[in-house]
Amino acid sequence: MTKGPLTVALVGNPNAGKSALFNALTGARQKIANYPGVTVERKAGRMLLANGAPAELLDLPGSYSLDPTSPDEAVTRDVVLGHQEGQRQPDALIVVLDANNLEQHLVFAQEIIALGRPTVVALNMIDLAARDGLVLDAKALEEALGVPVIETVAVRRRGLPDIAAAIGNVVEHHPDHAPLPAHVDMVERRVSARAMAKGAIISETSHRRLHRGLDKLLLHPWAGPPILFALLFVVFQAVFAWATPFADALDAGVGALSEAAVTYLPAGLLRDALTEGVLAGVGSVVVFLPQIVILFFFILVMEATGYMARAAFLMDRLMAGVGLSGRSFIPLLSSFACAIPGIMATRSISDPKDRLTTILIAPMMTCSARLPVYAVIIAAFIPATKVGPGIGLQGLILFALYVAGIVGAMVVALVLRRSVAKGQASGFIMELPRYQWPRAKDIAIGLWQRAWIFLRRAGTIIFTVTVVLWLLLSFPQARPGESQVDASFAGKIANGLAVVVEPIGFNRDMALALIPAMAAREVAVSSLATTYAVAAEDEDEAAEALGVQLARDWTLPMALSFLAWFVFAPQCLSTIAVARRETNGWKWPAFMLAYLFGLAYLAAGATFWIATAAGL
């Protein structure tokens, strides 16, 4: 039949458990990229068929039908039909059904089966159905659908070998010219879905008691929002408190490496480049890995449990107030981790004006790359005192910075929806998935992918930028009695920029940090570390923690102004690149850069002058 490994695709409604099944079938061997020309994520992995042959497994975006209402759904349709550019039509399809929601999921399943491609149905989450008192007859369903139906529980690996065997079977025994079933429309499919679901349900007892109880509490008009905000507050406190021991350990590790380099390497440019450039720079960013992992942990758990959709429900009214919908809440919340997946997640917003507004304000959500900057400055200038039981002043300031970004974003959204992105307020239609206990393995895979992306950035962009910065800082070499930073190329560039940022309280070192931070915000920290390491009079001073050096050189208003700058400044080339790709042109990214830099300048200036006037 087909030459080379087979291509198999998972299709199904959103929340059918496709991704869990994908993880179970492929393990951690996954490749995540984009489909060419669109920004829909292509998730591919390798699975083994029953005869030991490998097959490429695609996890297609969840869809309700082959009549797409979003770019995601359009990709699913095109791949399944073989119209997606650069993607071979899958040799077989696995339709994933949520056993708890057959009546709904069978509608799309019939549409897929009617295509006449080799198809296997995975009756997924059969364990949760059993928990909810639902007993199903897979054989009856198989007869009704006319394709193999296999009961699966992705998390317990139940049914996985049967899936692999069934795929091999349907591909091998698929007639080349299968007679296509008569065309039926959506209404007819829905009627037969109802009948099939009824025929497959042997018995049904308690009805989602847990689900209802949780929704009653979490969607309660008065209890729901405080619970959401309490949860978000806990997340931000945890990011600071839980990460400390791990960050300290990483910091000590970097310090030990640096000392070892000083001990064992001959003094000279290479050793300086290693200690002052690479270790000071990359090391100062890598120590924030624990905080980023903790933040992503909470976001992944909220997604996996189904709470994220409830958060969207609770936030919809508020978002509607600024002309957006609850749907924008999820991309914006993801932007707290990183604006790049956040901006990419806007694909699920069907209204173009809504989507544009969300893209434009996403960079204002405090992403994890700002955390290193905030963390260093807060630790250096804000005392670690308690302002209440369990509430530290440092955590409170951090929370305030997050709030500043959110409030700024809301105000900007309001303005944009009345000016450049004017249009009718869009609606909000969204399935609220069943609550689920998060699966440790899925969370672990997600965390590993995010941590790896962060470390790869540290190893590539941040590494390169710090080395270049170190070179610019170290040459030309200062004459005796002259400061090295003053004499260097970097110092001269920064002197030029310093004129511009002086009115908002920035000194030359801060101006210097802004330039390389365009590559990625967290580089501001590594550049400050490199700058102070190069400027240090002796080894002892160079080894001082960055915070100590900052506290000596900067005043509190300067530090606050620097923080305010980073709330708004669009200092991330990757975000700008993604915005360009998502909006198909330079117009909107340019607009984004201009308005965010303007806001950052105003906010930093106002902060500096108010703080100075207040005598801080």
């Binding site: 009546e103 709904q104 989602r208 929704d215 009214r317 069907s350 909000f428």
Partner: protein, 100 residues
């Protein structure tokens, strides 16, 4: 069906099963109409209003359809005309007694 028993989905009390009599598709934006359709909210579907949102207007609404919960706005619900589903005709997903 008697006209006087027909009202719109937005005004239903929480937890009462209602049947969709008609949907005024022209009131809905086409993408939203297709999405509602895809979710099975169409003539004949049995729905139950489960939650109302916060703040003024009690927007959005959470609607149970079969074993699924769907969030939608009040403006969508206003376009959906419903009648009391009555006990004997309740869909199996809502009524366990009648399931075979």
């Amino acid at each position: 069906m008697e006209q006087d028993s027909v009202s719109n989905l937005a005004d239903q009390p929480l937890g009462t099963a209602v049947r969709v009599v008609s949907v005024d598709w022209d009131r809905l934006e086409s993408g939203e109409a297709r999405r509602l359709h895809a979710l099975g909210i169409d003539r004949g579907a049995v729905l139950k209003l489960a939650h109302r949102g916060i703040f003024a207007g009690r927007d959005p609404l959470a609607v149970e359809i079969g074993r699924m919960t769907v969030a939608l706005r009040r403006e969508h619900a206003l376009a959906i005309a419903v009648e009391d589903a009555g006990e004997e005709t309740v869909h199996p997903a809502q009524d366990f007694g009648s399931a075979k």
